[in-house]
């Protein structure tokens, strides 16, 4: 009788075909990497140079200078003494427990990653908000970026660029950028239609409508997106250290493999402290911007 094994087991591709398919794609990528690898590396040279310079700046500067500058920035941006005090205490504890150098490395790379993510994400979110077609194209890409296991897209990146800071930045940005894009899109789309009509009635141009009405009203949602982006960037610290990025991720990896619980806990708490400082500062900045807009509108 006919072979009815397909009734029970899924009729899958012949193993040879599947292996041949996989090898063909691997081979094609290898050829691509060999021909364009050097050009792509050269493209990322300036970014690498900046990352190395920034990290060295933070590590080699005296710790009290870095602490003072960070607290000053936190105050200027947030205008809240509570946050400044919390930041100072957190950094002093981090230094006291011997995690200063790793924290400076992580802080330098994560700062650059979050700035890149915000600088790229907000404009993409705005474009998505204005065009339904853009949204249908971008949304599945965001889904892939958020759920594809990081090592899947890291393998080709490592084959192309080696291990180090640039693949780390690429990994973190890919993982961290979707929240800010999605929430910027959402915030702008949720702006009340009546308010937009009023702006049009007053003769606002497209740009004036965007900058004067939509962004200010969408600001709380955009700030939520930035908050999530910062959190996810810091969550990627450990995965980035798996491709050779220096920082807090490496002691965490060591603690996982060697089962040193306290080492992992302390470094994990340092990552949490960084996340909270970044987040409170950006939230305070967002609130100040909102107050500014409210003040203008209440005139």
């Amino acid at each position: 009788m006919a072979d009815t094994s397909w009734w029970v087991t899924f009729p899958q591709m012949e193993r040879e075909t599947l292996v041949g398919f996989r090898k063909a794609l691997d081979g094609a990528y290898r050829d691509f990497s060999r021909s364009y690898g050097d050009a792509i590396e050269a493209f990322f040279e300036p970014l690498l140079f900046f990352l190395v310079w920034f990290e060295r700046l933070l590590i080699n500067a005296p710790w009290w200078a870095v602490l003072v500058v960070v607290c000053a920035l936190v105050f200027l941006v947030g205008r809240s003494w509570k946050i400044v005090a919390g930041t100072a205490v957190a950094f002093l504890l981090i230094g006291y427990f011997g995690m200063w150098k790793d924290t400076m490395s992580t802080m330098s790379i994560i700062t650059v990653c979050t700035l890149i993510a915000i600088a790229l994400g907000v404009p993409i979110g705005i474009v998505m908000a204005r065009s339904d077609r853009a949204r249908t194209i971008v949304t599945p890409i965001l889904d892939v970026m958020q759920t594809m296991p990081a090592f899947v897209y890291l393998i080709p990146v490592v084959m192309l660029l080696g291990i180090g800071k640039v693949p780390g930045v690429i990994a973190v940005v890919i993982y961290a950028i979707p929240p800010v894009i999605r929430l910027t899109n959402l915030g702008i789309r949720l702006v009340d239609r009546d308010v937009l009509e009023a702006a049009d009635a007053f003769g606002a141009s497209g740009w004036q409508r965007l900058v004067g009405v939509q962004i200010p009203l969408a600001l709380p949602t955009i700030m939520a997106g930035i908050n999530q982006t910062i959190m996810m960037a810091l969550a990627m610290v450990v995965i980035a250290s798996m491709i050779g990025v220096q920082g807090l991720g490496q002691p965490v990896l060591r603690s996982i493999t060697n089962q040193y619980f306290t080492l992992g806990l302390l470094n994990g708490l340092a990552i949490v402290a960084l996340a909270i400082v970044f987040d409170r500062v950006s939230q305070a900045y967002g609130r100040r911007m909102q107050l500014q807009y409210e003040r203008i509108s209440n005139v």
Partner: protein
């Protein structure tokens, strides 16, 4: 409500019939349930899958693979007695804990998985040695430090070390200190993970760029890429290696090459009591590095996982595995292979 009653009755019936049929499925010489550690590198997963197949089909064990890694599995076997078998345990780093476990009667060393022992070294690609023959020695490497520039800091040269958490990370750092590689401008780079280490070597080899770093045999990568082990010129100082180089607090490390690493099959002592013929098989089962390198290269080329490699090995290399099992067990293995 009626449907609910029917569903409950059906479920009860199904459960009882499952309970009734389960014991009938067990083999006559039942060795019980056995867990094996499946570690995440090619040779380990191959041997673990091979052991699982043989234990299941030849010795009637209910064998199951669970993920593992050298230190966590070793610790778990000593402290908790689970998993039952670690098929390829690299013991050079935590020999003390292992010996203590054996002395306390918790573990037995069933045999050597790698009859040659693991071969660890600092490697350079052969195409590089052909251009600069002096790179075969560490002095030549130091003189040519300029070849191994760090792209992130051109004043440094890179020796790719072991990922965070691997026991060899300590050894590599101590060896670099012992040979004053730091003075020659070398830093020991942490690749972060096994994938990072392999990726860095693969990338350099594919582009014929210089690379210097730690690697070990038997592995698919060394089976695929022709590399030369750098000679430190110091021979092997076993005592210095065990007492100082592998320890974090080594004050004054002295140069020594890596001794052959004992790679053992370790089982919990309880297993020796309930499945003595399985342990007997484990004691005989051993591979040479030359054979494994070839098999691992086959695995890599055919993108085979441990299970496929184990079946391929059993089908193709009967001469190798026949002496490890009794005639009856061999017959059972062959019939299991035929019915696949």
């Amino acid at each position: 409500m009626k449907i609910l009653k029917y569903l409950i009755a059906a479920g009860f019936f199904a459960a009882t019939s499952a309970l009734v049929t389960a014991p009938a499925a067990a083999q006559s010489h039942d060795c019980g349930s056995v867990t094996l550690a499946d570690m995440n590198w090619s040779s380990a997963t191959f041997i673990a899958n091979l052991d699982r197949f043989v234990l299941e089909h030849a010795y009637g064990c209910d064998a199951e693979l669970i993920p593992g890694d050298t230190v966590p599995t070793g610790t778990s076997m000593i402290e908790k007695g689970k998993p039952d078998i670690a098929s390829e345990l690299w013991t050079n780093s935590f020999r003390d804990a292992l010996d203590a476990g054996v002395k306390e009667g918790r573990l037995v060393i069933a045999g050597k998985s790698l009859s040659d022992g693991g071969q660890e070294a600092f490697w350079v690609p052969r195409y590089l040695v052909e251009k600069h023959p002096e790179l075969a020695t560490i002095q030549g490497v130091i003189k040519n430090a300029g070849l191994f520039r760090n792209p992130e800091d051109p004043t440094q040269s890179v020796l790719m070390g072991c990922p965070s958490g691997w026991a060899c990370q300590i050894s590599v750092e101590n060896m670099a200190k012992a040979m004053n590689l730091g003075d020659a401008g070398f830093i020991v780079r942490d690749p972060g993970s096994s994938a990072g280490l392999s990726g860095s070597l693969t990338r350099a080899y594919e582009r014929e760029k210089p690379w210097l770093g730690y690697y070990w045999a038997p592995t698919a990568l060394l089976g695929k890429f022709d590399m030369v082990a750098v000679d430190f010129g110091s021979g092997i100082d076993l005592e210095g290696y065990v007492n100082c180089i592998t320890q974090v607090d080594c004050e004054n490390p002295q140069p020594t090459m890596f001794p052959p690493a004992p790679v053992l099959t370790v089982a919990v002592s309880d297993l020796a009591k309930r499945a003595p013929d399985a342990v007997d098989y484990l004691s005989k089962r051993a591979f040479t590095n030359a054979f494994l390198n070839g098999l691992l290269a086959w695995m890599e080329e055919n993108q085979a996982d441990g299970e496929i490699a184990a079946v391929h090995f059993l089908n193709e290399n009967e001469a190798v595995w026949r002496p490890w099992v009794s005639d009856a067990a061999a017959a059972r293995i062959k019939s299991a292979l035929a019915s696949l």
